[in-house]
């Protein structure tokens, strides 16, 4: 990557400068080598770019200086394929001798990279890959892994409760048919049914579905609302086709159905739709306002949670390294310190629970068309209408009971009220 080469060049330059000035100075110039794996080419390239940009944005802001350690940031392209991700991670670990591995977009990639971190005793920080079990039932297999992003069902738990509070009794879910979709929908179902709601129908269009024509007419008419979980281009098509079918029911959904990655390309049909996630670009805090403005000035678009999560991840790594006077404390110690971090971030206060998943605010967000942060055009924003503070991955449920049940899947929780 040109980025890594540039970084390498600058390291080389500072290195030679240090030699020229004094050898003592060079002995003090420490280096932190961070390897980053993201899909920079292929169908997930856009998300991959947002991820890398978010991390890079933070590095540029602190001029690659983590409390005295010079950060060498090496990006490798995983091409959206888990086995390529493994090869690239191996390259970073074996050839570039990185100390920290970061990245992975898809849940599959997370599952592929975590064992690599275990085998090679390298820290793996997970900013995006949200597969629940990484920090739940499979945690013990991955002692060198810490998640700084979220687990798929984490926003769904408070969201289910919120749906009850709105007086919804019966909800139909329609979600992309793969692990991430199962987990987001499953979490919502568990929470919604725990407070008295009923999921009366679950529809699973295949991942990447273009035409929802076969699915929309089957949505049961006695439902009070529709819960959707879409990703990528599906997020754009589903609300359009739903609106075209004359739907009058309220539409709510998982975070990726309306996140800032897809929102700018959406039409007015999504106004009023409500979703839940740990971040919204419309979060009205000074920290976020500044971030959005600076990010937008640099990259020409509003940051998505892909960018925010990586920015925050870089910030968290910075904090751990800076607290240790710019020294990398070794993988075990680094994981321990990162996992006990409490920090104020753009998305709000974040700490890490004892299963190495963030405890953070979950925002219930409503799509509105309005002006924000002094921009003069009317745009779609995810206005925060309710904040659930300090939500952990188990939400309102008890950890032990939660872990005793299987991971969310197409068949779990079973659909008791379906006909």
């Amino acid at each position: 990557m040109s980025r890594s080469r540039r970084a390498f060049g600058s390291v080389l330059l500072t290195g030679s400068l240090a030699v020229a000035m004094s050898t003592a100075a060079m002995a003090q110039a420490q280096e932190l080598r961070i390897g980053y794996v993201a899909p920079v080419t292929g169908i997930f390239a856009q998300q991959g770019k947002d991820m890398v940009d978010g991390f890079q944005f933070y590095l540029d802001e602190v001029k690659h200086d983590f409390g005295g350690a010079k950060v060498q940031f090496i990006v490798e392209d995983e091409q959206g394929k888990p086995d390529t991700a493994v090869t690239k991670a191996k390259k970073l670990i074996l050839q570039d001798k990185i100390q920290i591995l970061v990245g992975g977009l898809l849940a599959t990639t997370g599952y592929a990279l975590a064992p690599v971190s275990t085998a090679d005793k390298t820290v793996y920080v997970v900013p995006i890959a949200a597969a629940d079990d990484l920090t739940q039932r499979d945690l013990s297999k991955y002692p060198y892994m810490v998640r700084t992003g979220w687990s798929s069902s984490q926003p769904s738990h408070p969201f289910g409760q919120w749906a009850c509070e709105q007086g919804y009794k019966k909800i139909v879910t329609i979600g992309a048919d793969y692990a991430f979709g199962h987990e987001v929908v499953g979490g919502f179902q568990r929470a919604f049914e725990a407070c008295g709601g009923q999921i009366i129908q679950k529809i699973w269009p295949p991942l990447g579905a273009q035409d929802f024509g076969p699915f929309i007419p089957t949505i049961r008419q006695d439902a009070d609302a529709i819960f959707s979980l879409m990703v990528g281009p599906m997020s754009l098509r589903f609300p359009k086709q739903l609106a075209a079918s004359g739907n009058k029911k309220p539409v709510i959904g998982g975070g990726t159905s309306y996140d800032e990655f897809v929102l700018p390309s959406m039409g007015d049909e999504v106004i009023g739709h409500i979703s839940a996630l740990q971040y919204s670009a419309a979060l009205d805090t000074p920290l976020n306002a500044e971030f959005v403005k600076k990010y937008r000035a640099k990259y020409g678009k509003v940051p998505s949670y892909y960018s925010e999560s990586n920015y925050t991840t870089a910030q968290m790594i910075h904090k751990v390294i800076a607290d240790n006077k710019g020294q990398f404390p070794g993988p075990e110690e680094f994981v321990k310190r990162l996992a006990s971090l409490k920090i104020d971030t753009i998305r709000g206060p974040v700490s890490i629970d004892d299963m190495r998943n963030p405890v953070q605010n979950i925002y219930i967000k409503k799509v509105e068309k309005k002006k924000m942060f002094g921009y003069d055009k009317d745009e779609l924003w995810n206005t925060v209408i309710k904040t659930y503070p300090n939500v952990n991955q188990f939400g309102q449920f008890k950890k032990d009971e939660f872990l005793a049940t299987p991971v969310y899947s197409r068949d779990f929780p079973p659909c008791k009220y379906c006909q």
């Binding site: 920079v40 490798e76 091409q79 390259k91 592929a112 064992p115 085998a119």
Partner: protein, 331 residues
């Protein structure tokens, strides 16, 4: 015959060089060669169909997938295949690939040309769909993680040891397929490739010949799957997608169909560009695309066709000069 001997010696020499050089490079390069060699087995199996029988299959990834999933499921659920029973899994992988091909062959072999392509494509997608949707068995989209490689006296967790093992399988596969295509059976496959009708008139049961070739290719595909599962330690539907089959097809064509080694060279080039060059420059995709386009345009017989073309040109030049010598005819 001597020319054939020279060729064989050249291949053996190149492989020996590989065996000496690769373990002394850095571990990432070793890993890449391991991956390329495993995939090369799949590519060669496809070459038996494409290059020697004239059947372009777009479903070869299915056999890799079956072998890989079998390995992963046996290892993670039943702890089979992590010790000496690795060899049992190898056999099972080969058998499963062959059995799947035997079933698919019944449907596919009746067709030729583009229809064969379509049927194998559809069958390959069926296997992908099964891997993707059968969550309880295959882990669906998340795939299956193998956390350790087998250990039996030797520790395959060591990249160099594993490279030697894969190299061994590769060399044996190459030798076996070479013997196969040189055998009377292989000759009759080539006959079918050239003119099936004539072969049928000569009294050959061409359907059976093609069917057997298809099953053999499936068996080698299953073998590559077993090794593939242990190479990266993750088996997911991504291994079964259409692009994997297309990759295999492109590698065969790139190196030269009907040569066995051509596919191996193709695999090395594609893996080199896609996984090594991509760590060096961001525009590796253009190089890969360029290589494909240039090969198709100027080397329709693939990279292995280069010597033949050079020879052809030389004889043409010779003929031309000979003609010129004859030319000064007095008028």
């Amino acid at each position: 015959m001597t020319r054939e001997l020279v060729k064989v010696l050249a291949v053996v020499g190149a492989l020996a060089a590989l065996l000496v050089i690769v373990p002394n490079t850095n571990s990432f390069v070793i890993l890449l060669f391991t991956r390329a060699l495993v995939f090369a087995i799949l590519v060669m199996s496809l070459d038996i169909l494409l290059g020697f029988t004239g059947l372009a299959s777009l479903g070869q990834a299915a056999y890799l997938g079956v072998g890989a999933y079998l390995t992963a499921i046996l290892a993670t659920r039943y702890q089979i295949g992590l010790g000496y029973d690795f060899w049992l899994v190898v056999v099972l992988g080969v058998v499963s690939g062959a059995v799947l091909a035997a079933v698919f062959g019944l449907l596919a072999i009746r067709a030729t040309g583009v229809y064969f392509l379509m049927i194998t494509l559809a069958l390959g997608q069926c296997v992908w769909g099964l891997a993707y949707r059968w969550n309880s068995l295959t882990g669906g989209d998340n795939g299956i993680n193998l956390r350790v490689r087998p250990q039996f006296g030797i520790n395959l967790g060591n990249e160099v040891t594993f490279f030697y093992l894969v190299f061994g399988f590769f060399a044996v596969s190459l030798a076996a397929m070479y013997v196969l295509v040189r055998s009377p059976f292989g000759r009759s496959l080539m006959g079918i490739r050239e003119r099936e009708l004539r072969m049928r008139i000569l009294g050959y049961n061409t359907w059976l010949h093609k069917y057997i070739a298809f099953v053999i290719a499936g068996a080698f595909g299953g073998l590559s799957g077993v090794l593939w599962a242990h190479t990266t330690g993750i088996v997911s539907p991504e291994n079964l997608v259409l692009t994997t089959s297309v990759d295999a097809l492109l590698m065969t064509v790139l190196g030269g169909a009907g040569t066995l080694v051509g596919g191996v060279i193709g695999a090395f080039i594609v893996f080199g560009l896609r996984e090594y060059l991509s760590t060096v420059v961001p525009w590796w995709q253009y190089v890969l695309g360029g290589v494909y386009v240039l090969t198709i345009l100027y080397l329709p017989t693939g990279l292995m066709g280069i010597p033949a073309r050079v020879r052809q040109r030389r004889t043409r030049v010779k003929e031309a000069t000979a003609e010129r010598k004859l030319a000064p005819v007095p008028h």
